[in-house]
């Protein structure tokens, strides 16, 4: 085990752990945000630069500070490393800069975006963004493409985190979409207009940090904060069947995987509980599901407002 100090908190982690994962082990508000890194998808990270941190001392052996801020998701810790996240003014300024970059071409269509309320870019914008924009030029737009009747791709909102590419690579038999073109013109697309359709493609929606990939069966049905999330279970031969159903009254509006406070799909019984497209898109009848209890949503304060989860703890029937 090696010792590392993050924002004055000393922790011991296994060698080879990245700074971000070390911070997550320590927990609390010293954890840097991550828009592209997804711990359940190997190979992700290093792209969005929102997790930049300052390394004030490289290691006990070589205590020199690192000259540039580093991406905490892809930098392994060293014994005696001192990292500054919340306590570094430089990190705060630079992260604000990254958020500004992410927002220059991002359409501010949050009022009609299905991701609103659970969008990581909204959270970051709230924390770091400025009320004014310095960008006076035209925003980049893409012509919409149809990727099937279940998933809506809204490319203008995409921040190119590559998570959905990783999902298609690692969860499905064959990947039919990817990143086309480069630089500013880079876009998520299928080479020939093609539906992305296989049993696990819906997980692309869950990993998308913004509203670029949304659920067509839920599109414009409701704002997420009007819905009550319940942990639910069903017998499924394709996936674990452990999901969250989002209800209004007796109606299921949408189904998602169970996500932790970092917005990542939870590990249940040593497996990442991805859910299959049948569970996500087709099982909208409450009789398909056994409700376990209210789901507390840590990350998104809007949803957990009004102490919904504590009020109705373990008594979902109250809502009926």
């Amino acid at each position: 085990m090696i010792k590392v100090t993050i924002d004055d908190v000393e922790i011991e982690v296994a060698p080879g752990t990245t700074i971000l994962n070390a911070a997550r082990q320590a927990g609390g508000d010293l954890v840097p945000p991550a828009m592209c890194y997804y711990s359940k998808l190997p190979g992700t990270g290093g792209k969005c630069r929102t997790c930049l941190v300052e390394v004030a001392a490289g290691s006990t052996a070589d205590p020199r500070p690192m000259p540039k801020l580093v991406a905490s998701c892809s930098t392994p810790v060293m014994d005696g490393m001192i990292v500054k996240n919340k306590t570094s003014e430089r990190v705060h300024t630079n992260r604000g800069g990254v958020v500004e970059f992410l927002l220059v071409n991002h359409p501010l269509d949050c009022p009609i975006c299905d991701q609103a309320g659970e969008c990581h870019l909204q959270d970051l914008g709230y924390e770091h963004g400025s009320a004014k924009t310095r960008y006076r030029e035209e925003r980049r737009t893409f012509s919409p493409i149809d990727i099937g009747n279940k998933i809506k791709l809204h490319m203008n909102r995409c921040i190119l985190c590559y998570r959905c590419v990783a999902v298609a690579n690692q969860l499905t038999d064959s990947r039919v979409h990817g990143v086309m073109h480069r630089g500013e013109h880079a876009e998520i697309s299928t080479y020939i207009e093609n539906a992305i359709d296989n049993d696990f493609s819906g997980n692309m929606i869950d990993v998308c940090p913004v509203g670029a990939l949304t659920d067509k069966t839920f599109r414009f049905k409701s704002r997420v904060w009007f819905l009550k999330p319940y942990e639910a279970e069903c017998a499924c031969n394709k996936c674990s069947g452990k999901a969250v159903v989002w209800m209004f009254g007796n109606e299921i509006f949408r189904v998602t995987a169970r996500k932790d406070k970092y917005g990542e799909v939870e590990t249940i019984e040593d497996k990442t509980a991805w859910i299959c497209n049948d569970c996500r898109f087709d099982k909208k009848d409450p009789s398909n599901w056994t409700l376990i209890g209210p789901r507390k949503i840590d990350r998104h304060s809007v949803i957990s407002q009004g102490k919904y989860a504590t009020k109705n703890d373990n008594n979902p029937k109250l809502l009926r």
């Binding site: 990270g45 290093g46 792209k47 970059f101 960008y135 035209e138 480069r182 630089g183």
Partner: protein
């Protein structure tokens, strides 16, 4: 005029053919290394020479070689980065076009030092005619027993493959180059693991610039110590400089590191001053990605000392009043040139060539272009 170690024979008629190259002392380093030296000894000579990577970053080549992981039973590779796409730099093209056998000789000697059995030259897609020159030279080297099985009876086998890229600036970055070489989208990889541990096809790989590999030839021939005597302090040996812009005599020059910038711009043996009797306005000494120097910081540093053509002296003053030797793309501007327009031109280049993987570059370079 300083000694030329690399391009001395560049203008000899017929030097692109194996026979003429051999007559002028070619492939001597291969004979010396394979017949009289162990691979470790070759690495040791390169370390002693103080050679620093000529692609731009200036990382010591010998040290890079010694980082190469050597697990049992795993193949290793040497990849030559010939994806020369930095605006203002054209030395590698010149070298490959004029002296294809020098690069091949360097590849054989370096591959031997690293224990690579299959080496690659990744050449920029726009250089198709250079690719043909190299392919012809490689075929000649195979025919004359310098490549293939049991080279010069030493028992060492080497295959050399030259592959063109798709013409993307980003593929000059070593991990993006490896991705592209594997047939994937040329996006840089996450590091660690570094290529020295997991590179091409997951095997330990060294990626070196054309000029660095070519410099191994004189280093092996004359010894690392003799090479280290040329130059000043940690900037040893000779360097190819691609001089362009408003100069009387632009072109590729081989200089001994430590030459003064003043001598390089105004000297009779070099560029002979700014063209048409104009005044110097600014200079970019190392290719478009290094800081631009205003006229008063070109020949003197901010501290008033002479600016020399070395890694250290050009970087004197950091990003505030210094620049970098970079890849040696020496661009000179006279008083009539518009720096804003030039900056816009470069910004346009970077916006066009950004791979779009990381957000600050993807969004920032496009924004820069639009602002300018």
């Amino acid at each position: 005029m300083s000694r030329k170690l690399l391009i001395e024979h560049a203008e000899v008629p017929g030097i692109t053919s194996f026979e003429t190259y051999r007559k002028h002392g070619g492939y001597a380093s291969v004979e010396k290394a394979l017949k009289t030296m162990s691979p470790e000894e070759v690495v040791e000579e390169v370390k002693k020479s103080g050679l620093r990577g000529r692609g731009g970053a200036g990382f010591p080549t010998g040290m890079k070689w010694s980082f190469l992981a050597k697990p049992e039973g795993v193949e290793r590779h040497l990849v030559c980065n010939a994806d020369e796409s930095e605006p203002g730099t054209f030395k590698d093209r010149y070298l490959m076009e004029k002296l294809p056998h020098l690069l091949i000789e360097g590849m054989i000697t370096s591959s031997y030092a690293l224990g690579a059995r299959r080496s690659y030259i990744y050449i920029r897609g726009e250089f198709m005619y250079v690719l043909r020159i190299l392919e012809k030279a490689i075929a000649e080297a195979y025919a004359n027993g310098m490549l293939g099985k049991n080279i010069l009876g030493s028992g060492y086998d080497l295959d050399l493959v030259v592959t063109p890229g798709g013409g993307a600036y980003i593929c000059g970055e070593e991990t993006a180059l490896l991705e592209s070489l594997e047939g994937k989208r040329g996006n840089p990889r996450m590091k660690p693991p570094f290529p020295a541990v997991k590179g091409l096809w997951g095997n330990p790989t060294v990626v070196n610039n054309v000029e660095s590999i070519a410099a191994v030839v004189p280093i092996v021939n004359e010894g690392g110590e003799a090479y280290a005597k040329i130059g000043i302090e940690r900037s040893t040996g000779t360097k190819l400089i691609s001089a362009s812009g408003n100069l009387v005599r632009p072109g590729v020059y081989e200089i001994e590191l430590g030459l003064s910038v003043e001598e390089f711009i105004y000297g009779d043996n070099y560029c002979r001053g700014v063209a048409n009797g104009k005044k110097l306005k600014a200079c970019i000494p190392g290719g478009s990605s290094v800081p631009i120097l205003p006229h008063y910081l070109v020949t003197k540093t901010a501290a008033g000392t002479d600016r020399l053509m070395t890694y250290e002296s050009l970087a004197d003053g950091g990003f505030a009043s210094g620049s970098m030797l970079g890849s040696g793309g020496f661009i000179v501007f006279d008083e009539d040139q518009c720096i804003v327009r030039n900056t816009w031109n470069f910004a346009r280049f970077y916006a066009h060539e950004s791979c779009g993987q990381c957000s600050p570059c993807r969004e920032g370079t496009g924004w820069m272009e639009k602002v300018l």
